[in-house]
Amino acid sequence: MTMNAISRSQIYVLDQDEALDFYVGKLGMEVNTDADLGFMRWLTVNLPGDPEREILLEKPGPPALDPATAEQVRELLTKGALGGYLFMTTDDAYKTYEELVGRGVEITDEPTERSYGIDFGIRDPFGNKIRIGQMFPRDSNSQGTDQIGCG
């Protein structure tokens, strides 16, 4: 296999300006690309220092999706049922948690020490889940079967 990195991932957002407020203003991510392509606004963000991994913040709608389907996507997203899920790592879970609480971010799960590390959960303004973990060093032979975030 010759694939070598996951360079971009996508989540749906209801409003791209509001998404910027959250992902850049509150989470501290950086705008990677914000381009009006005419047919869509290509908006990606990345963690500071890691521009090789972008998250596309895509707004569901026509013509990519017909209006009725876009509405279904929006409804599932706001129910937390669409499946958008980001996992991020940190050097200090408790410190990150305190910072995010201070910025009014919605916490779904307090920091907890688990077999794989210390992690907590937040939700973005639209319904996507984000998990932030301070991971313990992993055994290089491990099969990675420790469960992540039961929540």
């Binding site: 929006r74 129910k79 937390g80 779904t108 055994d139």
Partner: protein
């Protein structure tokens, strides 16, 4: 119309997240309705329409799920676990657990742990996926 549905969904999700997070606390409908910024009657009706079950039922399932985890992973006694996950009485806990799981808490623990009495640290160590050879 659509925007109203989205805002309502998101508010219901916020209340459901509160149940996931604070299941061990004595959550009641007035508290959850305040999280969702709606009246109590509206909250129950809308939550059910959104997620297919009442908030009360969702909270029960969340608490039972946590109890199942503690029954499997700890040696705490059933009464202790009952209160730890937010139930107010052992009778309600036992009845609800059996209704949802189909077994009593004790039966569930016995079925899942064929070697009762072994300290959980040993069980964890010996059932951990092998990282050797």
């Amino acid at each position: 119309m659509s925007r109203a549905v989205e805002e309502s969904n998101r508010a219901m999700l916020r209340a459901r997240d509160a149940m996931d997070r604070a299941y061990a606390e004595p959550l009641d409908i007035p508290t959850l309705a305040r999280v969702a910024l709606v009246s109590e009657a509206h909250f129950i009706r809308t939550f059910r329409a959104t997620f297919g079950e009442t908030p009360h039922r969702y909270l029960q399932r969340r608490r039972v799920e946590r109890a199942m985890s503690l029954l499997m992973e700890s040696n705490r006694d059933v009464t202790d676990i009952c209160y730890a996950v937010g139930f107010g009485s052992l009778g309600t806990f036992s009845r609800t657990f059996r209704q949802i799981v189909g077994q009593s808490p004790t039966e569930f623990r016995r079925a899942r742990r064929p070697t009762p009495g072994v300290p959980s640290c040993f069980t964890k160590a010996w059932t951990r996926p092998s990282s050797f050879g």
